[in-house]
Symmetry: none
Subunit: 230 residues, 2 copies
DNA sequence: TGAAAGCTTAACAATCGCTTGACGGCCCCT
DNA sequence: AGGGGCCGTCAAGCGATTGTTAAGCTTTCA
């Protein structure tokens, strides 16, 4: 993670710098607002740690200019010794994403930095994967062997469940619960849906991934032949 | 903004509820973890305020389950009376986005809630691009294949949202939320707007970028693949 | 104040997906 | 080996969701 720290107190800056670098981050440091702004604009950071009380331009101004003039959306964690409500509100108002009052534990700083970063990059959605079959819930896409597969809503739900619980046998009742909730159909429609699902994801590819466990339920797994107990 | 409070202390819950409702937010409250989880899963909130010390399932568990089991990405603000570092780190580790120690000023709570929400909807300042389609929010310009396209305000908003979330399926409710806020039209006007939008950005260009995911919502993506069946 | 633009609403058509019931096969138990 | 039950498959009917269009109303702007 690339982190910029804008802080005039050399001791504090150094301790943060060292601590975060130790943890594998790539650090830059600026001792005042102007330098900080310059760094922030010319480089790409994942998080900016910004002291409120800076010589020259203060932290609030730096943050505002970052947002308004430079259109930099990098998360900003505001640091300050002044623990007044007014200060905090101003901090947030200037476009800061978090606010930490000195003195603080470096662990907490690291935790907050991590959260700021993670939230930004939560985009890359984890896709479920079993063998050459992939299911991405966010994109609502299913791919096997590079070929996109179109699925009905219910078939998609069933596959998502089975892949999330891959290798585990999911009882029929549990599937019905997830798919229909409290209003399951009168007939045993699940059979039909599983059949359709098989036609879509297994039949065209030879090697079956969706397996029936008679009397219990279904399981998605890539197996040559593995004991079928739990 | 839709906000959920999960807090067992009735006094605290009530004061937060009233304060935020006063400020124009639509509030729900749950007195325990199970109820809270149920609310969070069945409704769509912008922010969840979560007390750490709950009867039954505690806040950490609620948060973990939200993230891991229910795949709910809603920002969580953790609330607690216990001000130890270990607590905070555990809080963040369970997937919380912010952490506030009691007692706190309601103004600060509101500020942090606002930041959590805003950060989610902060758009990249550069132009959005998908395939040969470009949307520049600052200039309010849409271009495809070098041709400028005129869009109505609502169509523009929808396209901006879908392109910002490109590749991801955006649920209908989420689109309606962004476009109309708390006052959606009585009828399903979204259908009409999407239709208009398609006429503007897709129909004249052959290759469609705006796709329907039946029963879920819409997605803007450049798909090479074709439904691989007959 | 007039004209234009945009939004909502409603109606209709078409498509899609879900359910249902029937039938046949396979497994397991007796 | 026989029978019952569980499971896979298929086709058809029905209901629901979506796309499309046009008309009326409100707002905006000159």
């Amino acid at each position: 993670m690339r982190i910029l720290i804008i802080e005039d107190n050399a001791d504090i800056a150094a301790s943060i710098y060292d601590y975060l670098e130790e943890r594998g981050h790539s650090m830059d440091a600026a001792p005042d607002g102007v330098t900080g702004l310059h760094f922030a604009v010319t480089n790409d950071y994942d998080v900016i740690i910004l002291d409120l009380g800076l010589p020259g331009i203060d932290g609030l101004d730096v943050c505002r200019r970052l947002r308004k003039d430079a259109h930099v959306g990098t998360p900003v964690l505001m640091l300050t010794a002044r623990d007044t409500l007014k200060n905090k509100l101003e901090g947030f108002d200037s476009g800061a994403d978090d606010y930490l009052v000195k003195p603080f534990a470096l662990e907490e700083l690291a935790a907050r930095v991590k959260v700021l970063h993670d939230r930004r990059h939560r985009r890359p959605t984890e896709a479920l994967q079993v063998a050459d079959l992939t299911l991405d819930e966010a994109q609502h896409r299913v791919v096997r062997s590079g070929k996109a597969i179109a699925l009905n809503p219910i078939a998609f739900k069933i596959l998502a469940l089975l892949m999330a619980e891959s290798d585990r046998v999911v009882p029929r009742t549990e599937i019905e619960d997830v798919v229909w909730g409290d209003n399951p159909p009168d007939s045993d429609a699940l059979r039909t849906h599983v059949s359709n699902l098989r036609n879509a994801i297994d039949k065209p590819f030879g090697r079956p991934l969706l397996h029936t466990i008679r009397g219990v339920g279904y399981r998605v797994a890539d197996l040559d032949d593995i004991p079928a107990d739990a």
